[in-house]
């Protein structure tokens, strides 16, 4: 049964997800896509905290994303 996608920001630390889509303005979408966050890409939540942005690992390197951005990326949780 396919699970409902969640926001990237809701991934738990250490959890992996597959990008489903980016719901945001053209600029943010374009930037994220250019940084390698294309649909189907696997991301891993490295670090998240109440005060800091989130840190994810994608395509072999780490990216920091502000909460604002991390809310716009929808992912399917990978077990």
């Amino acid at each position: 049964m396919p699970e409902k996608p969640i926001k990237l920001i809701d991934l738990k630390q250490g959890q992996k997800g597959i990008i489903v889509s980016i719901v945001g303005g053209r600029r943010v979408t374009q930037r994220l896509t250019d940084m390698g966050l294309t649909p189907g890409t696997e991301v891993k939540m490295i670090r998240k905290g109440p005060l800091c942005p989130v840190e994810i690992s994608v395509r072999g390197s780490n990216l920091a994303l502000g909460h604002f951005v991390a809310k716009k990326i929808l992912v399917k949780v990978k077990e």
Partner: protein, 637 residues
């Protein structure tokens, strides 16, 4: 002598500048791209029979139109046709870098790939098959360790070699469906003559690139319809926006190349990982940040104080020598004003600003500043900016001029405006000197600390107000987290020098000119008139002595000068004899907040235009006087 032009292109932070510096040394020219506030770095290298001009293009991730930098880069490569493009690639982050490489290949210009940071590749336990990579991409791939100068000469040789040959650029296949549409479009673009290759145009049109669309539409509006049909088809197949479709295909290719050429082994790079974990930790990270910023200030200002006293002593002995030769008559006295200005500039640059920017550069190059940007992101978000804006803010503690220019890293005009505005509220080194020599020396350090805290609160509140005044969706933080690395000394020194140079070119002339004007006023006794005019503000509202009026006015010209004027107009350097502790605090507070100085205003005009610069200036003067008066009333309660 033959001439070759090489363009360096690549992502941000891949060591492009290190290679550029290594090749061009002191033969560099840093300017702006015509009409743009984007830096253009050019240099020359003479090698055997060749004069090689090297252009360091801005660090970017894509050749779309996300930023002016991207647009400038692709226009440069397509229109000015450098003989060779050297694509500097961070070998430890191959996939994202290859995404850009693939786009460069689309431009179809002769190219070499400099696979940089090969030492880190080894440390990370990775192995890259460069021969295979070269075969797949169809252009030479050379391993480089830029920080050690390794492989850079090979790059030059290869570039010369290639410049004399025709290089056929291989077409990278983006999958059946996309290729079909590209082929169709390339055909309909047959008669379109632009500087770009047809394949590049076709891909950009499919992506929905507005600039290219405009260019093509002008020549043949019918093509746009064909493009829309093709793009629509791709969108239907893939279920995503056309831009995403093309980007995904490119990344797919990049990913396949990485899988083909890179083998991953055991990472021997544990220390850097650990350091990263600690410095971005939710609690520990903030503690380390606060501690490192406080110690940075402590080191700079205690060292600076010691060093500047020596310099001032030399400056004073210069004055007696000068007076011996030229006397103390009006003309020579006026001329001394100019020398004094230059000396004052030097006693600020050498002991304070240079060391400050040097250490900041070390932190930046090692990767620590991006960790601070990470930690500060949410805070900065409250004022409509993101974490990266913290970097120009930090520069502001040295001198506001390079800090204002540093705000160029902001993505949108609105963000730049807010960033520039809050930067001008940051107390620069000169202001800190005033605060330390008044409040620090005579009132106590806890008050200095309090003043800085108040300043930060004001920055926050005014930033928040500015955010409300200029509404808009803030750009979220999207930042690469590079591994920590040992800073490259030469690059750091150069960077510090460039920032200082902004101070020298923009601020120093103002400092010298205003010193001269001050002398004129002193000689003509105009300051008395001015002080009388300012009495309602100085005495009645701020509770300061009358002579502080001159100090405040000239502080606009040169902040640290207000201290000297305070001493000369007050008749003593023992400030406790002429100012009460409350007056010292009020005076420091006003100096901290009212417009930094003429040089900063000039930088503001340059960055955001006359009107906005004047608005900020007038607002800050009024605001500082307002806050000063309130503080005075609170403190005498």
């Amino acid at each position: 002598m033959k001439k070759i032009i090489i363009a360096l292109a690549g992502n941000a932070n891949v060591g492009k500048s290190v290679i550029f510096n290594y090749l061009t040394g002191l033969h560099q020219h840093i300017g702006n791209w015509p009409g743009k506030t984007v830096e253009r770095a050019e240099g020359t290298l003479v090698h055997e029979d060749y004069t090689i001009d090297i252009i360091d293009l801005p660090g970017i991730y894509s050749l779309s139109t996300f930023s002016i930098e991207e647009l400038i880069s692709r226009e440069y490569i397509a229109k000015e046709k450098p003989d060779i493009v050297i694509n500097v690639v961070d070998a430890t982050n191959l996939e994202r870098n290859l995404y850009f490489t693939l786009q460069l290949l689309e431009l179809g210009k002769p190219m070499i790939i400099a696979l940089n940071q090969m030492d880190l590749v080894e440390k990370k336990g990775m192995c890259i098959d460069t021969k295979k990579l070269q075969k797949i991409l169809g252009v030479p791939v050379l391993p480089v360790i830029a920080t050690q100068g390794k492989g850079i000469h090979d790059l030059v040789h290869k570039a010369i070699d290639l410049a004399n040959k025709e290089q056929k650029i291989k077409k990278i296949d983006y999958g059946k469906e996309v290729e079909k549409e590209i082929k169709k479009l390339t055909k309909s673009l047959k008669k379109i003559e632009l500087n770009y290759p047809k394949r590049f145009l076709a891909i950009k049109l499919l992506e929905g690139d507005k600039e290219i669309k405009k260019l093509v539409k002008k020549l043949d509006p019918k093509i746009i319809k064909i493009v829309d049909k093709s793009a629509k088809k791709l969108e239907d197949i893939h279920g995503h926006h056309r831009f995403t479709v093309i980007a995904s295909e490119r990344y797919k290719v990049a990913n396949e190349i990485v899988e083909d050429c890179v083998t991953i082994g055991v990472c021997k790079f544990k220390f850097s990982e650990k350091l990263h974990e600690i410095t971005t930790h939710g609690i520990l990270g903030y503690l380390i940040m606060i501690l490192s910023i406080i110690s940075l200030f402590y080191i700079i200002f205690s060292f600076g104080n010691f060093f500047s006293e020596i310099l001032v002593e030399y400056g004073m002995s210069l004055k007696s020598i000068y007076e011996q030769y030229f006397g103390t008559e009006i003309v020579s006295n006026l001329f001394w004003g100019i020398i004094e200005g230059a000396v004052a500039g030097i006693t600020i640059i050498l002991p304070y600003i240079f060391p400050f920017y040097f250490i900041l550069g070390l932190l930046e190059d090692s990767g620590y500043l991006s960790r601070i940007a990470f930690l500060m992101d949410r805070f900065m978000h409250k004022i409509g900016l993101h974490g990266k804006a913290f970097i120009p803010l930090m520069l502001g503690y040295g001198c506001n001029v390079p800090a204002c220019l540093g705000c160029r890293i902001m993505e949108t005009r609105r963000e730049k405006l807010i960033a520039v505005f809050v930067t001008t509220l940051i107390p620069c080194a000169a202001v800190t000197i005033i605060i330390l020599s008044l409040v620090g020396k005579y009132v106590g350090f806890e008050w200095v600390f309090l003043l800085y805290l108040i300043n930060l609160i004001i920055v926050f509140i005014l930033g928040r107000v500015a955010y409300k005044v200029f509404p808009g969706e803030p750009t979220g933080l999207i930042m690469e987290m590079h591994s920590y690395r040992i800073p490259h000394l030469k690059t750091v020194i150069k960077q510090a020098w460039f920032r200082i140079r902004e101070f020298i070119y923009i601020a120093l002339p103002f400092i010298i000119a205003s010193s001269f004007i001050i002398k004129v006023l002193e000689v003509t006794a105009l300051s008395d008139i001015m002080e009388n005019l300012m009495r309602p503000i100085t005495i009645d509202w701020l509770g300061l002595p009358s002579f502080s009026g001159t100090a405040l006015v000239f502080g606009i010209a040169r902040k640290e000068l207000s201290l000297i004027i305070l001493a000369t107009r007050g008749g003593t350097t023992n400030f406790s004899a002429i100012l009460s502790p409350v007056q010292m605090i009020v005076f420091s507070l006003v100096t901290m907040l009212y417009i930094p100085c003429i040089a900063t205003i000039a930088a503001l005009v340059k960055e955001i235009g006359w009107k906005k610069a004047m608005f900020i200036t007038v607002f800050e003067i009024g605001f500082a006087i307002f806050v000063g008066g309130i503080a005075f009333r609170l403190l005498i309660l």
